[in-house]
Amino acid sequence: MRVRLTIVAAMATLLSSIGLYPLFEGTGWVWSGSGAILVVAVAGALSRRFRLPSAAGPVVALAALLLYFTVRYAPGQALLGIVPTPGSLDRLRELAGDGWTAANRYAAPVPPGAGIELLATLGIAAVAVMVDLLAVRLRRAAPAGLPLLALYSVPAAIREESLSWVAFALGAAGFLGLLLADSREQVGSWGRAVSGRRLTDEAPGERPRARTLMATGRRLGLAAVTIAVTVPTVVPGVHPRGPLALGGGGGQGGSQTVTTPDPMVSLKRELTRQSDQVVLTYRTDDPAPDYLRLYALDRFDGDRWIYSPLQSSPRDRVAGRNLPSPPGLLTARSRAVTTRISVADRVRNMTFLPAPYAPSTVSIEGDWRVDGPSLMIYSLRESAAGRDYTVTSVRTEPSPDQLARAGSPGLEVMHQHTRLPADIPPQLRRLADQVTAGARSPYEQALKLQRWFTETGGFVYDTTTTAPRGTSDLVDFLQGSKRGYCEQFAASMAMMARMLGIPARVAMGYTSGSRGTGDEWVVRSRDAHAWPELYFEGAGWMRFEPTPSGPTGQGSATVPSYTREDADGEQRTQQGEQTADSPSPSGAEESPTPGRGPDRRTDNGDTSAAPDLEAGSENGPPVGWIAAVPLVLLILAAPMAARLLARRRRWSQVAVPRPAPGGRPGPASGGRVPYGPPPATDPAGAAHAAWRELRADAIDHGLTWRAADSPRATARRLAESLEPGSPAVAALERIARAEERARYAPAPGPADTLREDVRTVREAFGAAVNRRARWRARLAPPSTMESFRKTGSRALDVLDRLNATRLRAFLHRLTRRP
């Protein structure tokens, strides 16, 4: 029946299934899954008990599982609550369908539900059946790791982010337990050698071989798991977070990284479809509503714009509170705008909320969270489909001259939002400078860029172009084809703004759409849009519109009022410039100019500095590795240094009176010792120090050192490896005698020559062993590893004891019970 193996296999499956935890909310699936594992184990044990053929094992298990599922999920439709009927099967199928839908709808963690639970249990049960078949029935414990690994890799594959190390360690421990139990069974089946010994745990005598083997196996296994868990956290670049960060941030409930499908891809899909499907409708008190933003992409990695990983925690919930204030908005005029939005039912995968920038309160049901810096509103599991919600936003309406006078942004914003990859072609920089030539402020640069894209640059709006991949496509767009759609325009403008030192990011979402019946606005699929947002100190993130609008462009795109270059706007700008220039040189000029003048220059400086900054972090890994080389050297040199230090410490602690040069060593009690540590304790201490040194030297040179050997026996054995009759042998003898006297005699013997003796013996050791051992003794003396090893082995001993006594007794009791 292999009861023990069955139990261990079931435990291994259970432990591995713990790795599924990030996928589900709640713990219902654990109990359900444990039940299924238990059913499989019992079914397997019974089929072995009645000696059914191997192939019958899984069949029996599956039949038992069917009963289990019926009892658990469809007892109402089943005969007597247990016998499956067509009705109960339908019910199960229905539940599975529900689960499948839910699994597709929600991002992990999936909210609890019978369907999801059923699916999870089904998966765990399948793995349990396979593990039982492989490990227990076919006695192939190693391949049984594959289904276990599959169980582990599901969350790893779905979540992109690695699992917590605890889950991994548990799963690995389960598998190791399975391997151990299997090999134990195998060794056991060889039968006992003719060694009938009493099994006393405390016996210092030899233990049965199987047990030593097991202990060795356990130790190896433990070491393997420890290495597997710790090494990735130490090696730079493998683990994104600090060592052993369990789930990250450590706030309430822990935080997790949010990932969604690439927003750019879905944008392209929506645009090219040119569909008139309504995505959402809204009512607003704003006569000219702003765009509805979904994402703010603040990182350009050379290929595409993405948003920085969101660290999400329950603290970020939007319910019943004010959102963080929009970054940078200080002095500019702003007003509150209320928007009531209803999202269409058929919208799929909308886990970010469309909202006019900058949202200040959101009232919506469910667990929606906000990302502080970007004010994106998202959910880990809910979808916006079919929801009605109200957003209050702060709409900034700066005057152009306010923007023109904006001071230089804070360092943090600057640093984060002007980064570009190092390999940006230089002609793009030249182009950016060329386009914005003559501009006197970042704001004017932005205006010139926007105008270049929409009017003077000769760009054509064309949704048939392929999505840009990398900077070369953008170069082609800017200097070659000049054909593209909002993505190219937004991405290029944001990139060029960054080149000019203006903090920029790409926003994605929908334009304000078109007015429907009454005061309702309708946003359709084709209104999907991307646009750049540029940062101005005092006003915050401001929208720009480089994409051509109107019938030949993005139909519903509008140019923000503060960038509008109609006569009025032009006038205003010019007025602003004039006021800045001439009429009030004392007031308006003086305060902003120091900001502005240097600003321009730092801009230029920044355009060249930004890539450098980026280059630094792009070359991060190599730099890390270069830094790692001295570190590795240091680690390698550590044993040698530790050995030297230990030697110095030993001798300095006892401060052995060295023989005066040329003079005879005086008697221990005599006053002839030139520098005098207390002679009363000295000889014994010196003897011990010499002995420890000798021991370390012997171990360093690979000579055996046995705890059961007395000093003189040790000396005798060590002398065998030395040249007989040499001075080293005599020195060895002297050291052993001194130590023996220090340990066992009423009064210790003289210790004058010990330090010399130890040196003599060390040199003799070096001459006696081969070259490899000699160099090892010099460079990586094993004796320094001893204390470490001792601690480790003590820990392992505890583990052994734990296992050997408790677990054995437990298993014993289990197996005794029929």
Partner: protein
């Protein structure tokens, strides 16, 4: 020094022993000298068995009793006699036979017709050295009479107690228990012997030499005493003052405890064994001209002192894992006491 001339009865106490009573050093070296003389004397008779001789001497100085166990004809009795002969003291030899009675050992009270009273006639046990030959041939009753004297160092006959003169040492020889016509000593009685040694066959060269020497006359006859009872008493006194460091005591206790826990042993060593082990180690150290005991002494003595007291389990016996091997393995594994007391 005048030690060598103690063939005749000596009135003066030997010089080294006297020195020994004042301070350890000279007494110790004196002991070593006397011991070397005795050893040389015995070894002139027993060829090529220095270890057996040394152990016998150790037991003598440790105030213990010696059990020599081996097949017939390897010189058990010869060793006992040689040791007895080289020390000028009273020596009695008893040949144990199945019909030997307790009274033949301890002595009997006989009615004296002339004095009209019972008179105690001391048995062979009233001697400094008692050589009991083939002790396992006698009946258990007789054996126990001897063993009682060994432990108590006195004889009680008809209600009167007669103390035995120190030094008192019994050297018993026995054939291996498997041989015919033997009553093996029970473990309680084996426990009274400080050490058990076996002679073993001599190596061929020693055997050849033996032929030369023994061919003409018995070397035993030429042996003259090199020390007397007084010397031995003084030596015993020196031995008692040999230093045993606390670590070494702990080591002895650990060793004994280990035998009690060993899975191959049905019966471990007794507290008496601990006592005798340390006492023997003192003597062993003194013979080495050392005034302190080192673990090596205990290691060297562990098998002779402990092995005969231990009872293997039935399984161990079947698989021929003898107590000797068990003790040797324990000694091989037990860490020696380190620095720090």
């Amino acid at each position: 020094m005048a030690i060598g001339t103690h063939g005749e009865s000596s009135v003066n106490p030997p010089v080294p022993a006297r020195g020994a009573s004042r301070d350890g050093g000279p007494g110790l070296s004196g002991l070593a000298q006397v011991a070397t003389k005795i050893r040389d004397a015995v070894e002139s008779v027993i060829e090529g068995k220095p270890r057996a001789v040394r152990l016998a001497l150790t037991v003598l100085l440790a105030e213990g009793h010696l059990l020599i166990e081996d097949v017939p004809g390897v010189g058990k009795t010869m060793l006992a006699k040689a040791l007895a002969r080289s020390i000028d003291c009273s020596v009695r030899r008893v040949q144990f036979t199945p019909d030997l009675l307790p009274g033949d050992i301890t002595g009997v009270s006989a009615y004296n017709q002339e004095l009209r009273e019972f008179e105690f006639k001391p048995g062979p046990v009233f001697a400094n050295l008692v050589v009991g030959d083939e002790v396992n041939r006698a009946s258990p009753k007789t054996q126990s009479a001897l063993l009682e004297c060994m432990e108590e160092r006195q004889v009680t006959v008809d209600g009167t107690t007669y103390p035995l003169e120190p030094p008192f040492m019994v050297i018993a020889t026995q054939n291996p228990v498997e041989m015919e016509g033997t009553y093996p000593l029970p473990e309680a009685q084996r426990d009274r012997f400080t050490a058990r040694i076996s002679m073993g066959y001599p190596d061929p060269s020693a055997e050849l030499e033996m032929l030369d020497v023994h061919g003409q006359s018995s070397p035993l006859d030429r042996l003259t005493p090199v020390a007397d009872a007084h010397d031995v008493r003084a030596l015993i006194d020196v031995v008692r003052r040999v230093h045993v460091a606390p670590g070494v005591r702990q080591y002895a206790v650990d060793l004994i405890t280990a035998t009690r826990r060993h899975p191959d042993l049905r019966l471990g060593a007794s507290p008496r064994a601990t006592l005798q082990l340390v006492r023997a180690a003192r003597a062993y150290a003194a013979l080495d001209d050392r005034d302190y005991v080192v673990p090596d002494d205990l290691q060297a003595l562990a098998v002779p002192v402990l092995a005969h007291r231990l009872l293997p389990t039935a399984e161990a016996q079947v698989e021929r894992r003898m107590p000797e091997q068990v003790v040797a393995a324990l000694v091989d594994r037990l860490p020696v006491p380190g620095p720090g007391r």
